[in-house]
């Protein structure tokens, strides 16, 4: 895979930026940053610099490495515990190595997370200055030490007012957080970072990282946030802005950095960039690198095997609102979309693991919802995205894991005595079947008696597949089959799915966050946005178009295109 560094206009741009700030040392430089989690590479050779007052937009699909990069910048424990990182972080020309987020804060780096970390029953001021309150001495503190100091309310109000004033937003400093609209909570968080003024031990805030701050905001609130960001940038604070709303990124950022698969794909100034470009950089591989054997699938003449009609699923974090989909016999249908849009809810709801409604019609018969038994009895199977929680009996052997569902649903691997009254587990048959799957899927284990929890992620996934294959389903739902497994295992899993589809004619519905993976093995790909099917395209469609669908806002697409 060639990274697009050779792009001429791009180099030119970089030069321009450099010239602009020729005499300044960049505020932040990250050089050759790399990171792997137990041999699984998530970041490779990340290089970028950020100048004073610059707003850098960081975009990329889920799992592209954005948050890992930010965690490295902050010296989060998670990074140290998994073996540290490679490369250098340079702040104001000085190499730093943060051992904890506290060090990063001391250097003037602030972060606002997607989830609020505020105390609901405290006021804005109290939250802004929590644990950093200016204190007043009293008689008691003379007697009993500093712990009996009292809060200097006046000074607190001043500091909070000053911080809020920098944002120029109508935030009431005395309002309880629990009573605020979401936007104001977000502002409180930002104000907290801004209130960190320079002292002898701590440097004032210089760099602010905003991780999807607009995701929870209404359009109006988002607008005022963007305005506030510009104000901050003018006052010399640099901002790294992470967002999935690409129009915002284009509007507010000076530079846009696109990440994919742990690499920086593009770094461009935002002028003249349209959404379609960013979308393509985000999801697409370089032209020609995805070797796909397009398979002419005849939709006209194959019957519909499964039909979902107005399906809704109440799965926390992945709510499905109204999905209607037809799955044809023998095809591989991909379901993609951003995290949280509801793609994972579809199989979980159809199977009955979460409360669901609507109609699921399989082979012309309606399947009663909310009971996995009906789903399984109909001849469908589901490989869950939650391997450890739903997919496996971690404390039991591979034999049990692979044979259990088939044994319970189809009474395979059982010996019958007393006229079928006694159904005895047939150990030999179980062993034989397990052995054959271990060989077929190349599951690496010491024996078929090994416990599932002792296997690596990739091998656990193969066990989950084997469990589903053992049922011999007519239709197989596979949810995030490659999540959290290394590249080698990934291709094996995908190949196994493709092979199973071709050899047995099993219809497969595959749900994945990785669009390229879907494009590689599916016939069609449906994109889910906001709990609805946003579009279904043949997998051969250009990835840029999928990227647009995934952003899920057609109007924005059009606007972006017209710029």
């Amino acid at each position: 895979m060639t990274v697009v560094w050779a792009d001429k206009s791009h180099n030119q741009v970089l030069k321009d930026i450099k010239e602009m700030h020729e005499n300044e040392v960049p505020l932040l430089e990250m050089k050759h940053i790399s990171k792997d989690f137990f041999g699984n590479k998530v970041l490779t050779d990340i290089n970028f610099s950020l100048n004073k007052g610059e707003i850098l937009g960081l975009v990329g699909e889920n799992g592209a490495g954005k948050s890992t990069l930010m965690k490295i910048l902050f010296g989060m424990d998670e990074i140290h515990q998994t073996g540290g990182y490679g490369g250098d972080i340079i702040i104001n020309g000085e190499k730093v190595q943060f051992s904890s987020p506290i060090d990063a804060l001391a250097k003037g780096i602030g972060m606002v997370h997607q989830e609020f970390s505020l105390l609901p029953d405290f006021t804005a001021t109290e939250n802004i200055l929590l644990n950093r309150e200016p204190l007043k001495y009293t008689v008691f503190s003379e007697l009993f030490g500093e712990r009996l100091n009292i809060l200097d309310r006046e000074k607190m109000d001043q500091i909070a007012e000053r911080a809020i004033g920098r944002l120029k937003v109508p935030l009431d400093k005395d309002m309880m957080v629990s009573q605020m609209p979401v936007g104001h909570k977000q502002f409180t968080e930002i104000a907290r970072e801004l209130s960190k003024e320079a002292t002898d031990v701590v440097e004032g805030i210089k760099l602010l990282v905003l991780d999807e701050p607009t995701a929870v905001l209404s359009e109006q609130e988002a607008d005022s946030l963007l305005k506030a960001m510009r104000l901050l940038s003018e006052s010399g604070i640099s901002i790294i802005f992470i967002s999935h709303r690409l129009q915002e990124i284009i509007d507010v950022c000076n530079t846009i950095m696109v990440m994919r698969d742990g690499q920086i794909i593009k770094t461009v100034p935002s002028q003249g960039v349209v959404i379609a470009d960013i979308a393509r950089w985000m999801v697409g591989r370089d032209v020609g690198s995805s070797k796909r054997e397009a398979r002419g699938f005849d939709y006209e003449n194959t019957p519909v095997l499964l039909s979902l009609q107005n399906l809704w699923v109440d799965m926390p974090g992945e709510v499905v609102r109204d999905v209607s989909l037809d799955v044809h016999k023998g095809e591989i249908l991909g379901i993609g979309g951003m995290a949280g849009q509801g793609k994972l809810g579809i199989p979980n709801g159809a199977m009955g693991l979460f409360p669901a409604g609507g109609k699921v019609i399989f082979e012309g018969k309606e399947i009663a919802l909310n009971n996995p038994r009906h789903f399984l009895d109909a001849g469908m199977a589901f490989v869950s995205e939650d391997r450890r929680g739903v997919g496996l009996l971690l404390d039991e052997s591979l034999e049990w894991n692979i044979s259990f569902t088939a044994m319970q649903i189809q009474e395979k691997y059982l010996k019958r005595y007393l006229g079928g009254l006694l159904k005895w587990r047939d150990q030999a048959a179980i062993e034989e079947e397990t052995e054959s799957y271990v060989k077929q899927l190349e599951i690496r284990c010491t024996s078929t008696k090994q416990k599932a929890k002792e296997l690596s992620g990739g091998n656990q996934q193969k066990v989950c597949l084997a469990k589903a294959f053992a049922v011999g389903p007519k239709l197989l739902f596979v949810s995030e089959p490659t999540r959290g497994i290394d590249i080698g295992a990934k291709s094996l899993v995908l190949k196994a799915l493709r092979k199973y589809n071709e050899e047995n004619g099993t219809t497969i519905v595959m749900i994945s966050s990785e669009l390229e993976e879907l494009r590689a093995i599916c016939d069609r790909v449906a994109i889910i946005s906001d709990g609805k099917v946003f579009g279904i395209l043949p997998a051969t469609t250009d990835s840029a178009e999928f990227g647009l669908l995934m952003i899920g806002q057609k109007s924005q697409v059009l606007e972006g295109g017209s710029v």
């Binding site: 693991l353 996995p372 038994r373 009996l393 971690l394 259990f404 044994m407 319970q408 159904k423 587990r425």
Partner: protein, 353 residues
């Protein structure tokens, strides 16, 4: 090389058997070795140990189904015992003497065990995650409720009711003439004057253990283990988790009922009122000593655990008393049984993390 092999295989053995069991085992062994020197008859000691093993083993076995289905330790064992007591008293009321009364007791106890177990199961299905705490109080409150019922129920067999009023059951009822020692004396072997092996009782336990072992190898038994191992997995495999859990609770309750009948026939008395109150703790600690955890247990755990626990309970009083001439035995017994429950519950936290 040879030594290395030996130590590593020894280490493996220690690991598989479990250090706590080895320590307790050695302690028990040391008690048996000291016994003759302080004037305790070894034959009587062994005889008592076997007897107590047989008396309690079935109640320890009653822990197994519920552990397998993930309902935790059956602290609600008193409920099963109450079903057994109802069976026993009704059997005595019917007043057919001899071994038949034992079979009748089992027969009468069964419907009570099924009904009470079913209700108990429904309750536990509503409190998933907090089963053991709820179970404890199910046990306690059912005992209290039955304290009223023993007085009110219209039993009339003169061997059972209070002599002066003619109504209400006595606290202790003799099984003499009914099923006292029916299992103990069946095929019993008299080795020496002091050492008798209660073969029948041991065989009866072996029979029940075999049934449970076999059950766990059937389709439903496999489902039960899977429900305990990961109930979400089981649900995703089409198992009706609540139904399986209820079944396991019914099985545990029934085994508790049978357990107390076996206990009575050996002990010679039916103990009503507060009798069942503290029965759960020894059974729970026995299976934990045997190496079971809160969601994994085997028949072997039952056998080892009951033997070690009852061995210590039998041996400490006699040996310690003869040794130091002070009654410390009860203290040691309490420390062992409660300490083991504590140990196992902390281990559960370690496993799930």
């Amino acid at each position: 090389m040879n030594l290395q092999q030996l130590t590593s295989s020894a280490k493996g053995l220690v690991k598989s058997f479990g250090l706590p069991r080895i320590i307790i085992g050695l302690f028990l062994l040391s008690l048996f070795i000291t016994a003759p020197f302080v004037g305790v008859n070894i034959g009587t000691s062994l005889s008592d140990t076997f007897n107590r093993f047989g008396m309690n083993a079935v109640m320890v076995l009653a822990m197994v189904p519920m552990i397998h289905s993930g309902c935790g330790l059956n602290f609600g064992l008193p409920l099963g015992i109450i079903a057994g007591l109802l069976g026993a008293t009704i059997s005595l009321q019917v007043n057919i003497p001899g071994p038949t009364s034992f079979l009748l007791a089992i027969l009468f106890a069964t419907p009570f065990a099924v009904i009470l177990g079913w209700g108990y199961g429904q309750l536990l299905n509503r409190v998933k995650g907090g089963e053991m705490m709820i179970a404890t109080y199910v046990g306690f409150s059912s005992v209290a409720f039955m304290c009223i019922m023993w007085l009110l129920l219209p039993f009339s067999n003169p061997t059972m009711v209070w002599g002066y009023s003619g109504t209400g059951l006595r606290t202790t009822i003799s099984t003499e003439g009914y099923y006292r020692h029916v299992l103990n004396d069946f095929l019993s072997i008299q080795l020496t004057d002091h050492l008798t092996i209660p073969t029948g009782m041991l065989l009866f336990f072996a029979l029940l253990a075999c049934i449970i072992w076999a059950f766990l190898h059937t389709k439903t038994g496999t489902a039960m283990t899977a429900v305990g191992s990961n109930s979400v997995f089981a649900r995703a495999s089409g198992i009706n988790v609540d139904k399986i859990r209820t079944l396991s609770v019914i099985m545990s309750t029934w085994l508790g009922a049978i357990g107390i009948l076996v206990y009575q026939q050996s002990f010679g008395f039916i103990q009503l009122y507060m009798g069942p109150f503290y029965m759960a703790l020894p059974a729970v600690s026995a299976i934990l000593i045997g190496g079971a955890s809160v969601n994994k247990a085997s028949i072997l755990n039952v056998v080892i655990g009951t033997f070690l626990f009852q061995g210590i309970v039998t041996m400490t009083p006699s040996v310690m008393n003869s040794m130091i001439h002070t009654d410390m035995s009860e203290v040691i017994r309490i420390v062992v049984s409660n300490g083991m429950i504590l140990y196992a519950l902390t281990r559960k936290a370690e496993v799930t993390r």
